[in-house]
């Protein structure tokens, strides 16, 4: 992992297995659907972070507030010096989203388990149904780093600007406008389908290998730079609700070291339903093989 720009934000399964009882490490499983994941079995000592309940403001459509973040950290027995190791269901998407929100609120040492829950189970490592409890702490967050987040008006202002890049990490079918959301996602559809004008389609999964670990830095660099997503630009990532794009935000920010990357968490479920914003429909720009 040393070829990444910030290898310290990734831990592998072996490292985690050796630090489960470390007092300075708190392992958090971030799930969209805890009943299908954490509640069935999890990494020993890991605490549940329920994405819908804990990472979102349940009244407004928003990420958790600074006060809610502080309350979450206190409940999990976390201090500003604690090393947080995140993993979760759905290929680490929601863990990446939590990573992003924790960075917005300035927690210094947050790490992602490379390969996530899938790799832990793939390797036959220990799991438990026991839930840990912690002594509450007094946690006060840093001032929010809003540069990590982009909102609709800001994205609209970027359209057509050469010094910015928009990365749509959804599937080609969503990007080209064949569908606005898969039919089983009744709450995530949109009035219009397509993508934000000027965006390039680089599905999130192109950043990982078969075992869900991240591709080597060289391959990642080639993947993004060959599509015009270069570190000299300010980059905005988006998907449908902002969690897959958190995964790509993580790759660009920490594995490749791009200095200016923001996640547009309103994503297609906001853009595709909004009045007065343009939509583009086109073929996905998948790289074509070079003729012999």
């Amino acid at each position: 992992m040393t070829d990444y720009a910030h290898p310290e934000v990734l831990v592998n399964t072996e490292w985690l297995a050796g630090h489960l009882d470390h007092p300075g490490v708190r392992v958090l499983e971030v799930d969209w659907d805890p009943a299908s994941a954490y509640e069935l079995g999890h990494v020993p000592g890991a605490a549940l972070v329920d994405w819908k309940r804990d990472i979102n403001d349940t009244i407004r459509r928003d990420i958790l507030s600074a006060e809610q973040f502080s309350a979450l950290m206190r409940r999990l027995g976390v201090t500003p010096k604690t090393t947080l190791v995140l993993y979760g269901d759905m290929r680490n998407w929601f863990a990446a989203f939590a990573f992003w929100t924790f960075k917005i609120y300035g927690h210094e040492d947050v790490r992602l388990l490379n390969g996530g829950r899938r790799k832990w189970f793939e390797e036959g490592r220990a799991v438990t149904e026991t839930t840990p409890s912690f002594i509450a702490t007094d946690y006060r967050p840093e001032a929010a780093n809003t540069s990590l987040r982009q909102f609709l008006p800001g994205v609209r202002d970027l359209i057509g600007r050469a010094d910015h890049g928009l990365v749509d990490v959804r599937s080609p079918a969503e990007f080209t406008g064949q569908i606005s959301a898969p039919p089983e996602y009744l709450n995530e559809g949109a009035q219009r389908s397509g993508h934000i004008p000027g965006a390039v389609n680089i599905p999130w999964a192109q950043a990982i290998q078969e075992d869900d670990t991240f591709k080597p830095a060289e391959q990642l660099r080639e993947l993004y730079q060959s599509r015009g997503v270069t570190p000299d630009k300010s980059i905005v990532t988006y998907c449908r609700i902002g969690e897959r794009s958190s995964h790509t935000w993580f790759v660009l920010t920490y594995l490749l070291g791009y200095p200016n990357v923001a996640n547009y968490d309103g994503s297609w479920s906001e853009w595709g339903n909004s009045v007065g914003v343009p939509v583009e429909k086109a073929q996905a720009e998948v790289p074509q093989p070079v003729p012999a």
Partner: protein, 79 residues
């Protein structure tokens, strides 16, 4: 006796839907005694199906693993 199949590799995992969610939905449509054959290449999914079935009162009739693919056959016991 009816027999249905669910290959978890055929649907792309998307936000808002888990592999076990698809199993639960398929299981809910079974009649008592009917079988559901679940196929997966992901050990995490096999684990989830196994534990959930036990908790849900389902009967794991068969489980095998061949060439990296796990096959779990569930039988619905009640309705």
């Amino acid at each position: 006796m009816g027999h249905r199949n669910l290959d978890l590799a055929t649907a792309e995992e998307g936000c808002g839907d888990s592999a076990l969610g698809r199993v639960r939905r398929a299981y809910a449509t079974l009649d008592p005694g009917e079988l559901l054959e679940v196929l997966t290449t992901v050990p995490e999914q096999a684990f989830a199906v196994r534990v959930w079935a036990r908790r849900a009162g389902g009967d794991v009739v068969e489980e095998s693993r061949e060439q990296g693919r796990t096959r779990i056959v569930l039988r619905r016991l009640d309705r």
